[in-house]
């Protein structure tokens, strides 16, 4: 891995000849995107980078670690520490209108290493940019805007990482653009990429699971079935009211033929998501939410354990309690926050009884976060989660405390 990073770094340095576009590779983080003209789609660039005179490369990254003491139905595994992830960014402006950025993530102490983003952007017009490489499919908002230091909670939303497959990256090409007019900003993205495989209905989760497809690293070198995954999103932001985005992702997930021999019909997976990022300006409150629906063509002769529809979402409410000097940090912020989340993994009814299928989870997580600087957060969460099995039996209840840190570097 070290060799790969060194090679990537050398390539970036060697290939870049122009000055860095300082408007894109920013030094300070933007903690509250409702107050900037940037859209969620800009999150990939809207990060702090270290820049160097006469070197056309910017470096950055973030780290996340936590300690937790959670118990389920009276049984706990004690206190557990985890380095959830360390992510490195390497960016370069090859030309004023040609940029490259990569994001390499090491999860769980290096157990998983993934290139989450490695794409070249060519600007033909502000409304027409070409992006190619490993891209983050713009489904919902969290998938592209997932950096730990931006959030007040130690865990990522269930809906984003266990229903949708954040961080969901694939090789492909696409276009994007953005235009501002007065208080309004409009943006769009559209990509064709490699995509899912049959593991979404054949996995160890025992339920329809889009994230199961993330385990197939071959999607970075070839499609599982030759059918591209289409992802598209439009978003609009008003400087006063915030941003709303609507996105869709869909394609054939199964290997329907091999060597020209038909094995099955073409089966699709489709996702629709709505994301909102707004706030209550007088109070400084921010509201970030996302809701998605997943539709999967599951064979009628397969087990009902694997549902053909899922739905879920989350809402984060963050209320600054104090802004000012705390412990010598001049611009520190103390926040009170709460997250509510829900996922129904299997929307439908049993054929045999016509009763509702269970398999759902909801959770609430109140939190206190302390930001000594905008790009660094210390967060204390209490989590209460109730999960119901597929039959709808009495829920298993999980609860406990989590404390963590996350910071850009």
């Amino acid at each position: 891995m070290k060799h790969a990073l060194a090679l990537l770094f050398a390539l970036c340095v060697g290939a870049a000849a122009a000055q860095i576009d300082s408007t894109l590779l920013v030094s300070p983080p933007a903690p509250d995107s409702t107050r900037t003209p940037a859209l969620n789609m800009d999150a990939v660039y809207n990060r702090p980078f270290l820049t160097f005179d006469k070197i056309p490369v910017s470096l950055g990254g973030y780290v996340e670690a936590k300690v937790q003491h959670l118990g389920t139905d009276g049984v706990n595994d004690g206190t557990s520490f985890a380095l959830q992830r360390m992510t490195l960014f390497v960016a370069s402006s090859i030309h004023r209108r040609i940029k490259f950025l990569s994001e390499i993530e090491l999860e769980e102490g290096g157990k998983e290493i993934a290139i989450e983003f490695a794409a070249l952007d060519l600007e033909f017009h502000p409304l027409l940019n070409l992006r190619g490489g490993i891209v983050m499919n713009p489904i919902g908002a969290f998938n592209q805007n997932h950096d730990g230091p931006k959030w007040e909670f130690n865990d990522r939303p269930l809906m984003a990482v266990r229903m949708l497959p954040a961080t969901w990256s694939n090789v492909g090409f696409g276009v994007f653009g953005k235009r501002s007019s007065g208080p309004w900003t409009f943006g769009y993205e559209a990509y064709l990429t490699n995509g899912f495989d049959a593991s979404i209905i054949g996995n160890s989760e025992d339920r329809t699971s889009l994230p199961a497809a993330k385990r197939n690293a071959e999607r970075f070198t070839e499609s599982s079935n030759g059918m591209p995954l289409t992802t598209a999103k439009v978003a609009v932001r008003h400087q006063r009211f915030g941003e709303i985005g609507i996105s869709t992702m869909g394609g054939v997930y199964n290997q329907f033929q091999v060597d020209g021999l038909v094995l099955d019909k073409r089966r699709r997976v489709d996702v629709i998501a709505i994301d909102v990022n707004t706030g209550i300006k007088p109070w400084g409150t921010s509201l970030i939410g996302e809701w998605a629906w997943v539709m999967v063509d599951v064979p009628a002769t397969y087990t009902q354990q694997y549902g053909s529809a899922q739905r879920g979402g989350f809402l984060d409410i963050v209320q600054p309690l104090y802004k000012g000097t705390i412990l010598g940090f001049a611009d520190a912020v103390l926040n009170l926050a709460v997250r509510g989340e829900y996922v129904d993994w299997n929307v439908g009814t049993f054929r045999e009884t016509n009763t509702r299928i269970g398999d759902e989870v909801w959770a609430i997580a109140p939190a206190i976060s302390f930001r000594p600087v905008p790009g660094t957060v210390l967060r204390l969460n209490y989590r209460h989660e109730r999960a119901v099995d597929v039959l709808g039996n009495p829920p298993s209840v999980t609860g406990g405390l989590q404390f963590g840190i996350s910071s850009y570097f």
Partner: protein
């Protein structure tokens, strides 16, 4: 440097966390969990079996099917309780003691589900069949350890005592991989079956290997014939894993009765015996010797005699197993009855195929050898019926 107040802080943090975490449900409200008295080594093996039973999910890439009923053991036995209509099995091909005549057509079980691209099995036209709800798992080790001699002592095949109850064992062929019990009684080369709705399964190894094969489509060294190709195949699961699951099933605790000191519950049990329910649903059994010390020589209360009884035409689906007639069913244990809805999505699905949606309805559907008790139940004053039901719900 670590200081004393660090330890105080960590201790307070841990205590605070524990208080914020959900409490464990009462032990008597759960069907799962190990029997008391297992050694540490036995606990470890129980956990291995628990993981294999509840967490190991099969899919197309690790042995599922290609035709199957379920993707893991636990999906048919939520919380180790009985199943749900969505996991009901369809058995077919045998109508009398002469054996299954549909083995060449996919018998004895329909695998009505299949991995994508494969057609599942369908029930052959006119084949005798019955739908079986997956049974309760808990306490199986106790039932396994009852001696054959006890079963034979309770049998009364020709109703010699004239009480209208004529229980008998199901004599079955023993699979070569199932070891003979130390105290086994054989008759014409056959042994006494005690598991399954018809009591046609000799031991928990046969039950487990057969479930992997017929329910999940996973072949093992014990049951190497693939239910789809009907050809012998290499094992898709290690023999050690099958044995761990068997150990898990043997060492699941017996359900714990609740409210047993409640006067209505006590009175209800008296009614239970007075009207004759206990003639088949035998309250107290005792285990014989067992290599698992926690199971050896124990008294327990399952409310079954593990024998076959003719339940009348209403429950005769025309299908059978072993030497049982199609109207005969092995007395199901009643322990854990009050907790069944917690495994069945909040609703009762009782009797062999889940057709009864309450305890009272299940009693009303008793016929044959159970008819006298049913009639007596229906003739009870309402208060006595309520007490009886209260007792049954306490089990």
């Amino acid at each position: 440097m670590f200081r004393g107040y660090h330890a105080v802080f960590i201790t307070l943090f841990a205590v605070a966390c524990s208080k914020l975490e959900p409490a464990a449900p009462a032990e008597d409200s759960l069907l799962d969990g190990p029997v008391e008295g297992l050694s540490n080594e036995e606990h470890l093996r129980f956990l291995r079996g628990d993981v294999a039973f509840n967490d190991e999910v099969f899919h197309a890439d690790n042995g599922l099917g290609p035709v199957f009923v379920a993707t893991r053991c636990g999906s048919c036995h939520a919380g180790d309780g009985p199943g749900h209509p969505s996991t009901t099995l369809t058995r077919f091909g045998q109508s009398d003691a002469n054996g299954n005549t549909y083995l060449d057509q996919g018998g004895p079980q329909v695998q009505h589900r299949a991995v994508p691209g494969v057609a599942p099995e369908v029930l052959p036209d006119n084949a005798p069949s019955a739908r079986f709800l997956p049974p309760l798992n808990t306490g199986l080790g106790f039932l396994d350890a009852v001696s054959d001699a006890d079963l034979l002592a309770w049998a009364d095949e020709h109703d010699a005592d004239g009480d209208g109850i004529s229980g008998r064992p199901n004599w079955v062929e023993r699979k070569t991989y199932s070891p003979l019990r130390a105290d086994a009684v054989e008759q014409a080369g056959q042994v006494i079956g005690r598991f399954g709705r018809k009591g046609a399964v000799y031991d928990l190894l046969q039950q487990t290997a057969n479930a992997y094969n017929q329910d999940i489509g996973v072949v093992s060294q014990f049951e190497p014939i693939d239910p789809y190709t009907h050809e012998e195949q290499d094992p898709e699961i290690a023999a050690a894993t099958v044995h761990d699951v068997v150990f898990y099933l043997r060492t699941l605790k017996a359900p714990i009765q609740r409210d047993k000191d409640n006067p209505d519950v006590i009175a209800g049990e008296a009614v239970f015996h007075t009207i004759g329910c206990g003639n088949c649903h035998r309250a107290e059994l005792r285990t014989g010797p067992s290599p698992i010390a926690a199971l050896a020589h124990r008294d327990f209360r399952p409310f079954t005699d593990l024998l076959l009884h003719d339940m009348g035409p209403g429950l005769d689906d025309g299908y059978t197993e072993g030497s049982a007639s199609s109207a005969e069913w092995r007395t199901p244990a009643l322990w854990g009855l009050g907790l069944f809805p917690d495994s069945q999505g909040g609703t009762y699905f009782l009797l062999h195929d889940g057709r009864a949606h309450s305890i009272a309805e299940a009693i009303d559907l008793h016929g044959g050898e159970g008819q006298a008790a049913r009639d007596a139940y229906q003739a009870l004053p309402a208060s006595d019926r309520d007490k009886l039901l209260r007792f049954l719900q306490s089990l």
